[in-house]
């Protein structure tokens, strides 16, 4: 029936969405590339073509390299840890734990709280001398430590917040996947005398694979776009120890007003996201094996 409709009908239906998608996703992505080879217009100097100059500046910019390193490290640590924790959580609340409903709520709560709000509370936890962690460690006689003020611990401190924020969210997906695994598999495994670990390793884990792919992709994308807690807790410091790509873009563009340089930085971030997208489609192809 629909096939007989005029061919402009579907396009008309798509038009508003496509216009906005192009205006706020595709056009800005292309414009970013374009602007990255021009200089930033300043008072008295208009924007001129500079070729790869912004990228050369990028290559010589230690802050950029640090932001890139930090961001990769950030993804490399927070993604696996959050995922392992979320699986453990899901396995726990899949069983008949006393207070299971409350426990699920506890794990999921961070996902629903605004990062900007909870970051303020974490800021207090990390505060030296009278912050919660400082109080506890002083009570045990471990002394005081300025977690966010020391370059060595500032990034790990932010990672902890991210893991706390994301693990419970991912748990929901694992819990849903666990509940879809047929109980007959557990019975069969029990008859075979499998241990819990064997059952997890040989049955649950492979069946959770599609969920893991989905969660990993989302977690990696999040690792490159979550910066709310950086704004609240460290502003990239101390000494750029917590500088992340998106936050650096924000700083360069809206504090230093160097939009061309920010464009070059954005191109790097887009490239990373494109790699994630490519991997995603490759993985989604192989995913059919599990279904």
């Amino acid at each position: 029936m629909n096939r007989s409709s005029a061919s402009w009908v579907p396009w008309l239906l798509l038009l508003p969405a496509l216009v906005l998608l192009v205006a706020f996703t595709h056009y800005p992505a292309a414009a970013t590339l374009w602007h990255s080879v021009f200089s930033t217009a300043r008072a008295g100097a208009s924007s001129v073509y500079v070729g790869p100059e912004n990228y050369q500046a990028l290559a010589d910019d230690p802050v950029f390299w640090q932001a890139l390193r930090n961001n990769l490290l950030f993804a490399l640590v927070t993604v696996p840890v959050a995922i392992v924790l979320s699986i453990v959580m899901a396995l726990w609340v899949h069983r008949q734990v006393p207070g299971r409903a409350l426990l699920r709520l506890a794990y999921f709560t961070p996902a629903i709280l605004p990062m900007i709000a909870v970051a303020n509370i974490w800021l207090f936890f990390y505060t030296p001398q009278y912050g919660l962690i400082a109080q506890i460690s002083q009570a045990f006689g471990w002394g005081d430590h300025n977690w966010l003020g020391q370059p060595g611990t500032a990034l790990p401190a932010l990672m902890v917040v991210t893991i706390w924020k994301e693990a419970g969210f991912f748990m929901i997906f694992y819990l849903a996947a666990l509940q879809q695994i047929s109980p007959t598999l557990a019975e069969a495994a029990a008859l075979e005398g499998a241990s819990r670990w064997q059952f997890f390793r040989r049955v649950q884990w492979p069946l959770l694979m599609p969920t893991t792919v989905f969660v990993v992709i989302n977690a990696v994308i999040n690792a490159f776009r979550l910066v709310d807690h950086v704004v609240v807790m460290t502003r990239g410091g101390p000494d750029n120890a917590t500088q992340l790509l998106l936050y650096y873009i924000y700083q360069v563009a809206f504090s230093f007003w160097d939009t061309s340089y920010a464009a070059a930085l954005t191109v790097v971030l887009l490239t990373l996201l494109a790699i994630v997208a490519f991997v995603k489609f490759r993985l989604l192809d192989s995913r059919t094996h599990y279904q």
Binding site: W11, L13, T32, R95, A111, F124, A176, L191
Partner: protein, 300 residues
């Protein structure tokens, strides 16, 4: 399904003993959905408490005088003054309205645009459909949050700087919403569609009377995900807004915590709770729907 042999036996050893005493001694007391042992329970609850700790501290500090913000004694006097002070110290009422308007505007626009687009993708075959769908899918990877510089330029060019519409506009077309609704529309049986058309309904009427009502659970799921996302969104509103009249709660909280308050933790946590409270209360009331929404949104 096998369950643990003895409900009162919590430790692994007594579990094993109980198991050995059972007639079917060859069956291990093992079940992935069965009763947890003591180790599981302790671990699960320790982690649970750890996960709740920031919220618990926030509540503690907000309902006690500043002097007790960092001193945890049981006889600390209770007070609501921190909320009153925070509410008076910054225009949180205004921020709340702004957030409310922002979230509503985004949701309505997203639902209308996504419905139209999803219908086109699900029920029409036309030249260029694959290309159009690719154009949509790209946004799943590159969200407007990442393209802050160019989007700010566009918003400024449109004269929408420091307006709620300026915060909202980049999110109107949601690839995620289109994708979700397309999947839902595809599951609607063709026969229903055909029957409606035989009755003389046109494309609009079929969409409105058949597809939209049948996809209601997906709309609810999408709405909850969208609302919670934009209630909590921060970086883009921070960039676009610079006045009280347009700031949402998240940006308002940051301005409040960063400039006005120094280190009065009681005030900051009171403001923090006020920012999170409306969505959090909604979450407590509709917990099941929220969780299912995120699940449904993720699985598809």
């Amino acid at each position: 399904m096998t369950t643990s042999a003895n409900p009162s036996s919590a430790t692994g050893t007594s579990d094993a003993a109980a198991r050995a005493g059972k007639a079917s001694a060859s069956l291990p007391a093992f079940s992935p959905t069965g009763r947890a042992n003591l180790l599981d329970v302790t671990g699960a609850w320790l982690l649970g408490l750890l996960w709740l700790l920031p919220l618990l501290y926030g509540v503690w500090s907000a309902i006690h005088p500043s002097a007790y913000a960092t001193r945890f004694v049981l006889d600390a006097p209770l007070t609501l003054e921190n909320f009153v002070h925070a509410w008076q110290a910054a225009p949180f009422g205004r921020y709340l309205i702004n957030t409310f308007v922002l979230v509503t505007v985004i949701l309505v626009a997203q639902i209308v645009l996504a419905t139209l687009a999803a219908y086109a993708f699900a029920r029409f075959t036309f030249r260029g459909r694959e290309v159009a769908f690719m154009i949509v899918l790209v946004q799943l990877m590159v969200m407007p949050d990442v393209l802050i510089v160019e989007n700010y330029r566009t918003i400024a060019w449109l004269g929408l700087r420091d307006t709620i519409l300026g915060i909202a506009l980049p999110y109107f077309a949601s690839a995620f919403g289109i994708f979700l609704l397309r999947q839902a529309f595809k599951t609607v049986p063709r026969e229903l569609d055909d029957a409606a058309r035989v009755e003389g309904a046109n494309a609009w009427q079929v969409l409105w009377r058949v597809y939209v009502p049948l996809a209601r659970p997906v709309y609810v799921a999408y709405a909850l995900v969208s609302i919670s996302h934009h209630w909590n969104n921060f970086l883009w509103p921070l960039i676009v807004t610079n006045s009280v009249e347009t700031r949402p709660l998240t940006v308002g909280l940051q301005v409040f915590a960063a400039t006005d308050q120094g280190i009065d933790w009681s005030l900051i946590t009171a403001a923090t709770l006020m920012t999170a409270a409306p969505l959090f209360i909604a979450f407590l009331l509709f917990q099941r729907q929220f969780v299912q929404s995120f699940m449904r949104a993720g699985i598809r």
